[in-house]
Symmetry: none
Subunit: 173 residues, 2 copies
DNA sequence: TAAGATTGGTTTCAAATGTAACCACTGCCG
DNA sequence: CGGCAGTGGTTACATTTGAAACCAATCTTA
């Protein structure tokens, strides 16, 4: 699917290599580093907010967030939706089952599949967490202007797709 | 990649056709989630690039990056500089010592402190990784215009300081 | 100057995460 | 049918990570 592009990307990268002097790296200006710090701060803060209250891990909460919008998904569907992997989903699901936040039922048409849904209790919790999560996001976004929000949205999209390319093409092989 | 399987497609359509409730959380637009996915993609790609070659973890590389610019730091100084915690630093340092990438010497004035520096070998590796790291960053940034880069820089600054406030003040109490 | 409080740093233990192997079922092709 | 490749999902194991306990040296203060 993507094999034909690898060499091209490599060449671009190599070209950049020549241009860059072995200068010092200023970690505090290095985008990957900044992204990581920012993301950790944000995620940890929010995870604490609902994790403590509802005994949810981040992956578990993500599964709930998806099931809240899209009922009747299988674990495989969740993998697709969340960009999390099989195992993470499986574990999240088992936490949610233990907490009675979701229900699981066999798919008669394909007995390997198991269809997941929020339970009564789960929807309840979901509906309490959503505003909480949104409040955090609003607070974050509140530090930006409308203009900046749009910019951020489109910038993230671009960065994401670039980073995705790396993953697909195995950049430095 | 897979054959067009009618039943599977049908299932997706069924799931997606369920009405989206007005107040649902749209995970794929939720900033904390997007930041997390983006940051993981980027970090993993880069970590693979130098991790494989030089047997370095991300924290270890961060420590090297700081020591490359600022010699004679103690572990505590590194904590301050990197926003990583004590334990992470300690482990990173022990990896780097094992690899002979750094040296450690007692501070005679305060015998609890141990002063760290890149070794010859370490500086060597450092000087090879820096361009590699920069080249990834350039590649990422290459997907943005100059304008966007400035915007991103200032947006991250704002978000960061907001998230920092959370940590300090405990937001939703 | 001795007791407690603090600081630098490491160790220990539990939880979180990733990778690979694995079972059960389905779908395909002879 | 019967075998075998592919899929959905879980389990097992190894590694990473974080929290808290810990040791040793230093600072404080009475």
């Amino acid at each position: 699917m993507t094999t034909d592009n690898t060499t091209k990307v490599d060449r671009e990268i190599n070209a950049n290599l020549e241009a860059v002097r072995p200068d010092d790296l200023r970690l505090e200006k290095f985008l990957p580093y900044r992204l990581s710090v920012l993301s950790n701060r944000v995620s940890n803060a929010i995870a604490q907010a609902y994790g403590a209250r509802f005994d949810l891990t981040i992956p578990a909460w993500r599964v709930m967030a998806i099931l809240g919008r899209f009922p009747n998904l299988s674990a495989a569907d969740l993998v697709e939706q969340t960009a999390m992997d099989k195992v993470a989903i499986s574990r999240a699901v088992s936490i949610l089952l233990k907490n009675d936040y979701i229900t699981r039922s066999e798919d008669l048409a394909d007995r390997r599949r198991q269809v997941l849904n929020l339970s009564e209790l789960g929807r309840d919790v979901y509906e309490r967490i959503v505003p909480l999560a949104q409040q955090y996001e609003n607070d974050l976004m509140g530090s930006l202007s409308d203009e900046e929000r749009k910019q951020l949205d489109s910038i993230i999209e671009k960065l994401m797709s670039r980073a995705q390319d790396w993953a697909n093409r195995g950049l430095m092989d």
